[in-house]
């Protein structure tokens, strides 16, 4: 259980020496309880206290790392049930499963596509996190070969085999790479846990049909007897409601009850879902796993369109609700505009900015884009909140220095705020206010008409 500020205070030196940067030990204790400072800021804390506080401060869901260095993926360490309570921290890793049954060409082809897939959305590069190599034949040699091949890419790895001998061959092929070992079951856990320990790899623990009592018992066996601590849970559910129930219970047990035996990230296999016989169903089940508590998601069907929708959803759900993604307000040049190029204005919500900038760029027509400070709100929201009105726009025009860079006095406002054009005319004496399209997608044709 997390300790209260007072409980922590009792363990501190209580000298109020201020060396931690806080006026009193109590103030420091409160910050510690809120996890806003590190205990190491106190130079006088005893080793005993350190050990006690460290264990109390352990996150309710353990942080698990797959891989190292440039291909390292961290999942877990979540602290809330609902994103609005604070935020979700570590977005789920998206993996594709490649079977050893695939021929050489098919395997390499898919692996290349997965590894090279990259798409940008609101200024962030989105990628696949890794691949899961599925042992389909029981051949240690083939498995090791495929695992080694996958390890040549900048990807995190999951090794899937029920046979400890095959698993060991795979682990040996990528020593030091810390792939996830999938999976320890009631039948083979001793050997799998020993392998994970020996190769310094995290271990997935697989239960049956959502039986969480059984899964927790298995976890307890493994953590007490095999000293494996870096675990990932698979409750064994594969459908819609059963998976939602199991994932929800695991998350609640870890966070609300601080139940350590289920305090680990959770893995989902939407392609194995009941009724997931199509790309669409698999993708929709994966969407549920992104929305509701999945930490590793292993997909079976590689499709760019489906992947793009999941990457977008993941970006949405794991956006910090307290910090809308913003861009810096100011004047942006798109496609090297000159003194005759049109001037457009929009808000500094990043999605708004990237939608507008993307369309202007796509239109092939250079333009000036003035981004006002709307505190990260979109056009309509900012307008409703009084953060994107005539006064603010006029102020931004003057502050931007754009008047010295263009010869005309025309400004295009978003169609959604057509109603402010009168006021803006008053604020910007001598300017012509043009009402642009409501959606960014209408910008290219608007710019074309403007030039005609």
């Amino acid at each position: 259980m997390a300790l209260s500020g007072l409980a922590i205070y009792k363990m501190l030196p209580q000298t109020n020496c201020k060396e931690c940067g806080f006026p009193t030990c109590l103030a420091f204790a409160m910050k510690l309880a809120a996890r806003q400072v590190e205990l190491s800021a106190c130079p006088y804390v005893s080793e005993e206290t350190k050990a006690q506080l460290d264990s109390a401060a352990a996150p309710p869901i353990r942080l698990i790392a797959l891989g190292r260095d440039s291909h390292k993926l961290e999942v877990g360490n979540e602290t809330v049930i609902f994103r609005h309570e604070k935020t979700f921290y570590h977005q789920p890793g998206l993996f594709y499963r490649l079977s050893t049954a695939l021929g050489d060409q098919e395997f390499s082809g898919l692996l290349d596509q997965i590894a090279s897939y990259q798409v940008e959305r609101v200024g962030v590069a989105l990628r696949v996190d890794g691949v899961a190599i599925q042992d389909a034949s029981g051949s240690a040699e083939t498995f090791a070969k495929r695992v080694a091949q996958a390890a040549e890419k900048e990807l995190a790895l999951i090794l899937i085999s029920a046979d400890p001998a095959v698993m060991e061959a795979g682990l040996k092929a990528v020593e030091g790479r810390a792939p996830l070992v999938y999976a320890a079951t009631a039948e083979n856990w001793e050997k799998m846990a020993a392998l994970a320990h020996q190769y310094g790899a995290p271990l997935a623990v697989r239960g049956k049909d959502g039986d969480l009592e059984g899964l927790a018992a298995l976890v307890q066996e493994i953590t007490s007897k095999a000293k494996a601590e870096d675990l990932v849970l698979d409750p064994g559910t594969r459908g819609w409601a059963d998976t939602l129930a199991a994932f929800t219970k695991i998350r609640r047990a870890a966070i609300k009850k601080n139940f350590r035996s289920l305090g680990y990230p959770v893995i989902a296999f939407p392609g194995e879902g009941a009724g997931a016989d199509s790309l669409e169903m698999e993708t929709m089940l994966a969407a549920q796993a992104i929305d509701k508590y999945g930490s590793l998601i292993v997909l079976d069907r590689f499709d760019k369109a489906a992947l793009y929708s999941l990457l977008t959803l993941r970006q949405n759900i794991y956006t910090d609700p307290q910090k809308p993604i913003q861009v810096t307000p100011g004047l942006y040049e798109i496609s090297s505009p000159n003194a005759d190029s049109p001037l457009l204005v929009t808000t500094n919500f990043s999605l708004t900015y990237f939608s507008v900038a993307g369309e202007v760029e796509g239109s092939g027509r250079p333009a000036w884009l003035l981004v006002t400070d709307s505190e990260g709100m979109s056009v309509l929201t900012a307008w409703a909140a009084g953060k994107f009105d005539a006064e603010r726009i006029a102020k931004a025009v003057r502050a931007s220095g754009v008047t010295e860079r263009i010869k005309h006095q025309k400004i295009v406002i978003p169609g959604f705020v057509a109603s402010i054009s009168g006021e803006l005319e008053e604020e910007l004496a001598g300017w012509e206010i043009l009402v642009g399209p409501r959606e960014a997608i209408g910008i290219p044709s608007f710019l074309r008409q403007m030039a005609a």
């Binding site: 039986d211 927790a216 929305d291 970006q315 956006t319 999605l351």
Partner: protein
């Protein structure tokens, strides 16, 4: 082998109001099927914790005139029926729609400026062509909304249709029309828990009973603010289950409308190759918007593309299966 796992069931004091759309012959209407939503006393689909007596349903959007700004994918998928709301609605019912969401778009001053007479005729024709419950939306312009929604409420007397959108600026007229003709309203507010609550209270003050109100908390599409609306809906539902009576209305979401405004669905050309196949992307854009909103409490999902209907229904079916997890 088994270990004691702490009980994580929440005890909720609140329950969502049951709302029935549509009326059959024995209740003064002509619907072959009616739809009841709400009644749950738990978060979506957590069958281990409470009851969810009614599954969420799929409504399909139909317009009273062929849309001129829809994605080519939608235009091709629906084909000729787009120019005939009655045929369109009948086709939607065949494809699995459980409710028709008819939009009287032609009443908009800039898109036809049709009036009460045309609205009555369209509502009548759609009712005759289908046996499922009906939602009627005005064109979204206050004066015209009042005109055509009052006409629709009168024309469909006894049918228990829902009138939308009932917003802060026009709720008096719409609620009065609902009261006079025993219809429901869709109370729409802009992505805000308190505004949603306030409108429900205002409507309640006019004595429209709670089982006549569905709320639309306003949603965004995948990639376009979905997370914001997702969290607002989650907060609305949590407040409702915690006992806030003014937020205990079932929720309707316009997943199709939102998803098909996105660039990802509108355009197949001039987009990055990594976006993949246009049709697959678009269907999944709508489907994943719908799935995410279902996970956060949507009771009625309004869709656009015919091929997304079975996908979302299959997901709902899976979500309604009582889980084997004890």
């Amino acid at each position: 082998m088994s270990a004691a796992v702490p009980d994580v069931k929440e005890i909720w004091s609140g329950r969502i109001v049951e709302v029935t759309l549509g009326a059959g012959p024995d209740q003064g209407g002509t619907r072959r099927t009616t739809v009841t939503v709400g009644g749950q006393n738990t978060l979506p689909f957590l069958h281990f914790e409470g009851q969810m007596p009614h599954k969420p349903v799929v409504a399909v959007e139909v317009r009273d005139q062929a849309p001129d700004d829809w994605s080519e994918l939608l235009v091709q998928a629906w084909g000729d029926v787009l120019s005939d709301p009655a045929a369109w609605a009948a086709r939607a019912e065949e494809l699995g729609a459980e409710v028709i969401a008819l939009s009287l778009d032609s009443a908009h001053p800039e898109r036809g400026d049709t009036g009460a007479k045309e609205a009555r005729s369209t509502v009548r024709r759609v009712l005759e062509a289908t046996g499922i419950p009906l939602i009627v939306y005005g064109p979204g312009q206050p004066d015209k909304d009042n005109e055509v929604l009052v006409a629709a409420a009168e024309e469909a007397a006894g049918e228990r249709i829902a009138l939308g959108n009932c917003e802060e600026k026009n709720y008096r007229t719409i609620v009065a029309a609902a009261l006079a003709n025993d219809q429901l309203v869709i109370a729409k507010t802009p992505i805000d828990v308190n505004l949603a609550k306030q409108l429900n209270v205002l409507i309640g003050d006019m004595r429209l009973s709670r089982d006549h109100i569905i709320m639309d908390p306003t949603t965004g599409a995948l990639g376009y603010g979905l997370e914001y609306t997702y969290s607002v809906m989650e907060r609305v539902r949590l407040a409702a289950l915690s006992g806030d009576a003014a937020l205990q209305q079932p929720m309707i979401v316009t997943a199709g409308y939102e998803a098909w405004r996105a660039k990802e669905t509108r355009t197949g050309e001039g987009v990055p190759a990594e976006w993949g196949d246009w049709r697959t992307r678009s269907l999944l854009w709508e489907a994943n918007t719908a799935v995410t909103l279902l996970e956060t409490g949507a009771d009625i999902v309004v869709l656009r593309h015919p091929d997304v209907i079975p996908l979302v229904k299959q997901a709902i079916e899976g979500l309604m299966q009582d889980s084997p997890v004890a």
